[in-house]
Symmetry: C2
Subunit: 402 residues, 2 copies
């Protein structure tokens, strides 16, 4: 057995509680369920010193993960992605300590693998044999990978416009893959009908409680890798919002366990695309939920989510941390992507590039100050979006000279 | 200063020695130079116990790397890639302990980053400002990334048929990129003329001594991750051959330092493509060098190298370890790639898949026995070769049902 200190599940909206150890989807009130731990017990074994000798994967935080039997951990070695100083970009933007946590350095090249690792492991532990999900691409690819390793059958529906690479990843891993001539919201409706018809387990964003448990490990790692300090600001590209919700949950858990100073929480920034900015609009109006964003589109395909089921949790995390929400247009984020590659050597995804554009704008507005430590979350590799780069290069004959 | 124990450089052919701390290319006799260390001194600080608390990157082996000043380490967090059990594949092939070291989990998604990390760091330390190289794609992409971070200008020539993704990576990182209507050998000739003309530093495979020092860290990691044992067999996809030469060098260094049992060396297997198999042919004839392979071609583009400058070192490593060399045809390695994805959930590159096909064949022939521990080196992510997967998937309308 692992040393998991999972206690039970709870609804953050109506506070109803559910036992762990059995399959759950949404709360009866329609809200996503979250996982609660016995944090006092967890603190007995998960300490700053005990962590130093643990393997560099997200499973190092096993007390705060739901998996009970190590044999059910489906793993490709995910986690402990590097935090890189981005000094040239920081100088250009006017931020003395600009950092990037690089989630490109994870199996499949996208942060979605964290959610898939824990989500699939739990599905495996609970004896689930068939899962279904809508996806903007990367999550489907990641869940297909982990499910293949677990021997679980995966049904995936993704927009025809989703990145082609993710289609190929899901396909080669043996997923039952369908495209839809529409958005992720359309894919979600098709999956919603199918899971009822076939009795598949629905692993849509936040419709099962464990994806977020995988993603929250980004928060644990940030704290540990920055030597038990937190940055002043964390910028996160926000579609479904599980990353930002997860980081917020993780930091609060570490605070409660005495691993982090409870008086300092980073200001969390949700970064969206200008043509898909439901969270930004809700934030600007001071609302607690977002409205469906019609005809959304962006080159940062992973954040093309017109209405997130966890929107109220994202907005809560922003309000509680004195954070903000900001939208970036496509030409700006693509220009930033290129500048980051040229100056820092990292080819990051458009979603990640949007966080740098956001940091630049927030610094310009004075919301971020020069001396603050700012961490941008890059959620994936640039090579998953080859269409964002169109090289114009000469072709030589063997006898030609440079 | 780092605790580098570099002593000097030596020619493995004519034994001439060169001082470290200044730029070197080939030996005057035309052979590649290798780096020698004071292994006794290194063993004082690099021990099994001292390693446990070091960061999970290849820089943990700094005693056995040439970089003198930590400020010159150009890093994206490369190294300590996972070793995964491949139980379903092992069962299918008939090998009880089949392992894969997954070099997809590295910046840029290819093992080439190891060579680039140490090669570019050394170029930076030596004050080199402009480098040039021919490449089959991944090495060029990796060197472009690291060089961008170091502020070094990179000139790259790659075949028009090299994977498109690598072209985009090199381009977005600001490399001066040219394609050639030919093979890497043609690209090499163009670069050879250019470096003379413009006085650029030539970082072609083994023409500078430090790329191999980065790649050898795979060998250190295998030893450390397998708890200071070595596998019975290591299979490596072999083009330029630096990986296999590096692993052999690393294991010998660890043996000499007392970290590994000197009586057991893994049998090293060079895996090539059937239509580009110069090392295999040379091995079968018992030769010490290979001959140029005309009109070579393979879907495993990274090993499309018709004549490797370090061929004699590869062959030496094979002979010395009672290893072998084997060629796999394209349909076989592509079928293996798909089976690995479906059964294990890992979408690996065609070169990596070739090593599993080779393990299967060698097991069938009895050269590998069931009880032996066998490690396949996957040199990169499958998504760098999207053209190897061609999904045939249905497109739905939003009102359609599954």
């Amino acid at each position: 057995m692992t040393n998991s200190c999972v206690r039970d599940l709870y609804c953050p909206k109506c506070e109803k509680r559910y036992p762990s150890g059995e399959p759950h989807q949404l709360c009866t009130c329609g809200a996503p369920l979250l996982v609660a731990y016995d944090l006092k017990r967890a603190a007995n074994t998960l300490s700053k010193s005990s962590l130093t000798s643990r393997a560099p994967t997200l499973w190092r935080y096993s007390e705060l993960l739901p998996v009970q039997n190590p044999a059910n951990q489906i793993s490709f070695g995910e986690g402990m992605t590097p935090i890189l100083p981005m000094n040239r970009m920081g100088e250009d933007i006017g931020i003395d300590q600009l950092l990037m946590k690089d989630e490109g350095l994870i199996p499949g090249g996208s942060f979605k693998s964290r959610g898939a690792a824990v989500g699939v492991s739990m599905a495996h532990e609970l004896g689930i044999e068939e899962i279904a999900m809508p996806t903007n691409g990367n999550a489907g690819a990641a869940w297909a990978m982990y499910a293949a390793r677990a021997g679980i059958k995966t049904h995936i529906v993704m927009p025809v416009d989703a990145p082609i690479v993710t289609r190929k990843e899901a396909y080669i891993c043996g997923a039952d893959l369908h495209l839809v001539n529409g958005l992720i919201s359309d894919a979600g409706k098709i999956v919603g009908r199918a899971v009822k018809k076939y009795d598949w387990f629905d692993v849509s964003t936040l419709k099962e409680p464990y994806r977020i448990e995988g993603k929250k490990t980004m928060g644990y790692e940030i704290a540990e890798q920055l030597n038990w300090q937190v940055p002043d600001v964390i910028l996160y590209p926000t579609g479904g919002g599980v990353g930002i919700i997860g980081i917020y949950k993780a930091l609060k858990e570490f605070q409660e366990m005495g691993l982090l100073d409870p008086s300092k929480m980073p200001r969390l920034v949700a970064v969206q695309a200008e043509e898909c900015a439901p969270i930004v609009t809700a934030f600007q109006k001071g609302e607690s939920e977002s409205e469906f964003w019609p005809e959304s589109k962006t080159a940062a395909f992973g954040i093309n989510v017109p209405k997130a089921i966890g929107d109220f949790l994202v907005l809560d995390a922003i309000y509680e941390t004195n954070g903000t929400a900001i939208a970036i247009d496509d030409p700006t984020l693509l220009a930033e992507q290129r500048m980051i590659a040229e100056t820092e050597g990292t080819f990051i995804c458009p979603e990640g590039a949007a966080t740098f554009a956001a940091a630049r704008q927030l610094r310009h507005e004075g919301w971020i100050e020069r001396h603050e430590q700012v961490l941008c979350l890059n959620t994936g590799m640039g090579i998953k979006y080859p269409e964002t780069v169109d090289p114009d290069v000469p072709t030589l004959q063997p006898e030609d000279d440079l």
